[in-house]
Amino acid sequence: MAKTKSKTDLFEATLIKSPTGIQGLDEVTGGGLPKGRPTLIAGAAGCGKTVFAMEFLVNGATQFNEPGIFVSFDEPVEDLVKNFASLGYDLKGLSDRKKMAVDYIHIERSEIEVTGEYDLEGLFVRLGHMVDSIGAKRIVLDTIESLFGALPNEGILRAEIRRLFRWLKSKGLTAIITGEKGAGMMTRHGLEEYISDCVIFVAHLVSEQVATRRLRIVKYRGSTHGTNEYPFLIDKTGISVLPVTSLELTHKASSERISTGIPRLDTMLEGKGYYRGSSVLVSGTAGTGKSSVAAKFADSACRRGECCLYLAFEESESQIIRNMQSIGINLEPWVKKGLLKIHASRPTFYGLEMHLVQIHNLVSSFNPGVVIFDPVTNMISVGSENEVKSMLTRLLDYLKMKLVTTLFTNLSHQEDLEKTSVAISSLMDTWILLRDMEIGGERNRGLYVLKARGIGHSNQIREFLLTKEGIDVRDVYLGQDKVLTGSARLAQEATEKAEALIRRQEAERKQRELERKREAIESQIKLLRSQYESEEEELRTSIQQAKLKEEEISRATKEMARARKADVVKPAAGKK
């Protein structure tokens, strides 16, 4: 085993590859087609062989400075030019600039008579002339097997085609040979026998009325390659192959948090919201407000100035805008500003892969910070559960790698509320469940966070309200062993309010009484004080009078003594 591996490594070092420029194909082939060697693309009619070959040439001419020759054995040049104009390829312009040469080789069987031996030197000369005239590095022969119908003597033809491939190799041309799928063989005339370097098989499968194109690298000598069947599609930008399964689980996790757009929901998630680049699932039964949560998230992303891609699978753009306006979320300005792109499509319109590629393309061109799928459940109508899951896995890997926060809404049913229809919950980092709560003859919405990886989230059930002013998340009333929501909660709240009012009034009354008491006491104190003051006054006056009387008596005594000429008796010391 180890020996084989080192051998492969050795080959990888020496095998030069010619990039196709086709999105995804270079990834699957590890860099492109083998340079200077022929590659066979086989498949039934209408699988996209010609488009593959043409895109290889056009990309070579425009991106890698490798001029190329397209030799068609089936379609006249004018038809090719017209057909590929719809893919945006200007074959005429490229031909005029000598970046490309397109030729149509056809043989009318009815004109031809064969007499004896022949070879295909004329074809060689013709190809050689074209190659030299533009210095071609790439060549496409589409479909050389037509020659088998036009020329008799298969033995000669086979030998000559074998010689042609050798000739292509000797010229150092990277060639694509296309071949129709034959019965029990890859190609009708067994071309795969002659092309041993690289064989790619394309197919167009239809299951449940949905068509998917698939591609498989049957062999690639001297190189490791992806061995799976890869879905691919052809749209107006050309071919995209989805090698998404080659991605690994190595995306970086961001610790940045972004708001959910609903303040109360933020507080349930540590007050910060979701992790950037995480996947969020909002599931719930019909009419629980999943889209509203999604729209609010979109709105908040746009408010931060981030781009948001809203993939709607149920409603049209204007319907979403109108409906969200009714709950106070105005998305229209964001659309006008170019921050919000609503891409509405029916899931059944194309196959899963087409959706995947389209989302890929939208994400890579629009570069959103937030992608919303509303609802992801509808995807199940396109493929089987496994297919949908694998598609979502691929998509999520891709989005996580780009640090895009993804929000999926998922319609679930009352009986298995915590089971998502595509079993995608394991892919989700945060799961918010919206549910109906039937109490007292009415339905109300409840919201809780079922899981949130890496976030210490609240375990509380909250009531989720959609009002004209927007979304509101409130505490539910917990009491008498049950949860109260809606009018029951309102009634309970009113009762509490009334009780509180009474209590407050009581307190106020007591306060006033206290005040009055204090006032009464204070006035009593005042009265006593004034009584005391008047008594004091009286006493003082009488003391004064007594003193005056004393003085008068002593003065009169002295006068009497003077009049009697009495001697002065000195009072004894120490006596007063």
Binding site: E111, E113, G116, Y118, E121, G122, L123, V125, H129, L151
Partner: protein
Amino acid sequence: MGTENTKRKADSKAKGLKSNARAHGVAEVKSSKGFWELRLYVAGQTPKSLTAFANLKKICEEHLEGKYRIEVIDLLKNPQLARGDQILAIPTLVRNLPEPIKKIIGDLSNTERVLVGLDLRPAD
């Protein structure tokens, strides 16, 4: 017969043919047209090409004496000419005139088939 003859002449004139074409106007061969313009495509002096040319020369001398012209085109010298007549196989003999265009591939070793291809003998 007379009118038919005139018509043929007019046809020939319209195609801008040389006067000697008219000299052999009424031919004993089945074809209604009187002149064979043949082009032999080769790629270098390969044995196959040489054989083809020799065979062609012989057939023409036998069946179309004086009523034919052979142009040999060597694609190695003029590769761009391969496109016009949609030449893939070598050697290819192209009968440009009389119309319709016919192509005969191979070394022309099977005289019978060459004659059929050139409409010099009815195919059975």
